[in-house]
Symmetry: C2
Subunit: 335 residues, 2 copies
């Protein structure tokens, strides 16, 4: 029997072909003791407070500057755990694959996932593979769920307090702009690429420094506008931002102007915000500056009692306006 | 603003419309304290060995006799935990929805999920919603992952031993046959419906009875043929089955004859097999008989040292043949 070059319906049938695909492709790339048990569920030894999260990825195109759907799927779920102060330990992955998808491309995605896992030390311990007929999905969709021990309990959207500083880890909007550029066939002569990255190494150091982190969140769909509005609402506080302090690359500004977006609404996949007491902000920023990905980390705003539930953006010219929760279509299939 | 009747791309954008959909539809149906925290990840208090599993559901049609994709998504993941001797405690759910999908149908699916959760007491504690443009998916796909405390450690595909009895919980093939009938527009004048069911109540009683269960598995894709072949291989044992002992409904036999399937290869969604020492099989069967869904539970085979790695089916006429791991396309989008 010759090995097929494309995914066939039988690869999702639960029989011999599926066993072969799983054995050759997934087990080889993700190999670990727990996965190899091949039980209905992975058996894990965990104690204490545990974070549990899930994300499905449907990004289009599947490959883009700075990553692919596989990198996104690992970094996204690892980051959701990290943002809760949890060590990313165990991940599941569920593939929905369209019949006819190139096995070579699937392999590339899977190998990217394996490489990205190394950055946090998380392991894929269980999975699922479904194949749908041609035309019933678009290439490949990936769900990753994850669990991890919470090393620093209490980090919460509800813990944001008046007087907190808002730290932003880097410039915003790169993921959204990179996907939009790829989709529109924009040949930018620049280095614009997705910020997609595993954030655990930075978070691990912030936790090790024993800083009183109040809230942390990666600014994915809806950008920093969505995160900060959620914080303002959940914690019933006001958030004041300095537009000047928020780094935005020229290429991102360009894409925004071309297509009528605001950089604060654009998705990021490796950019996060922290709320923590003003007096330890400098120390946190020092820790972050050790990492290339955070070398622009800075204070971009403060939390106030006034204007509870609102985010206010101060322009460099002294004017101010509400930064609203984004609405409308934004960019479909951004992650 | 009038409420739309169909899912729109903005419902997956991470902004206002998504927040509304999540708040109104998902939070209302799945309401619990942990979910309401709205963090990036749910925070759970768990101790000891924990089972972790994932499944994506792409069944077509979405609604069928005996259930819908929502019932399947809950029962499927709960059952994977139960089969490891784990109490199904916390589930995640990730929706991938096609633009234009009727919100009323989505609501029906979500309400079915909420009702099915009650049968095990499991809670949905985190989720994710993605919307893809029309034509990029077929209706709705659901991923459910789950975690639960292992109450009875050691249940494992590797623990099947020569001398074990193989117990089958009920008649086989109903899910596969029901989906096939629905897909082909077969108007059976019968009661044929999917066996889709949450198996935790039966497993909970088996655990409470403190029986030395060696292995348990629900016979989903690939049917009992796939499960028993996996057991034979993983535990390096032979499995001998009595064809006569395996209950198959006439309607399932009919569908099999019409379409050229074997009932052992057909998927089930609420039917499981147990391997345990012969001498306590009767006690286990007594426990199972308390449940309507298991009132046909019986011994259908035995585990042998001979024929390691093979499953042998004994016909009522004294002949025997290998029951192979299913191969080929079987039924795409069966679950």
């Amino acid at each position: 029997m010759s090995t097929p070059k494309q995914i066939q319906l039988s690869h999702g049938g639960g029989g011999r072909e599926m066993a072969e695909l799983i054995g050759k492709l997934f087990f080889e790339a993700f190999d670990n003791q727990i996965l190899r048990q091949e039980e209905d569920a992975a058996s894990l030894n965990m104690t204490g407070p545990i974070a549990f999260t899930t994300d499905s990825f449907v990004v289009s195109p599947l490959f883009f500057k700075g990553g692919n759907i596989g990198k996104l799927a690992i970094a996204g779920t690892v980051n959701d755990l990290a943002m809760m102060g949890a060590e990313p330990q165990y991940l599941s992955c569920g593939f929905i694959i369209e019949e006819g998808f190139e096995i070579a491309r699937l392999k590339e995605i899977v190998q990217t996932m394996a490489a990205e896992l190394k950055k946090s030390g998380a392991k894929i311990v269980c999975g699922d593979t479904k194949v749908v007929p041609k035309g019933c999905a678009d290439g490949v969709f990936i769900n990753t769920s994850g669990v991890g021990r919470i090393l620093k309990p209490g980090i919460s959207v509800h813990a944001v307090r008046p007087g907190d500083a808002i730290i932003l880890s880097r410039d915003i909007g790169c993921h959204g702009a990179a996907i939009l550029a790829a989709r529109e066939g924009l040949e930018l002569e620049s280095e614009l690429q997705s910020d997609c990255a595993t954030l655990w190494p930075m978070v691990e150091q912030l936790i090790a420094a024993n800083l009183p982190l109040h809230a942390m969140r990666d600014a994915t769909r809806g950008g920093i506008a969505a995160v900060l509005n959620e914080w303002a609402k959940a914690a019933n506080v006001g958030i004041e931002l300095s537009e000047e302090a928020i780094p935005v690359r020229d290429e991102v500004r360009g894409v925004c102007e071309l297509y009528g977006f605001e950089p604060w609404d654009l998705a990021n996949e490796g950019t996060f915000v922290i709320a923590l007491p003003q007096e330890i902000a400098a120390e946190a920023i020092n820790v972050m500056h050790q990492f290339c990905n955070c070398d622009q980390a800075r204070i971009v705003g403060t939390v106030t009692e006034a204007n509870a539930g609102k985010v206010i953006l101060h322009s460099p010219w002294g004017s101010k306006r509400y930064l609203e929760l984004p609405a409308g279509e934004l960019l479909p299939r951004i992650c």
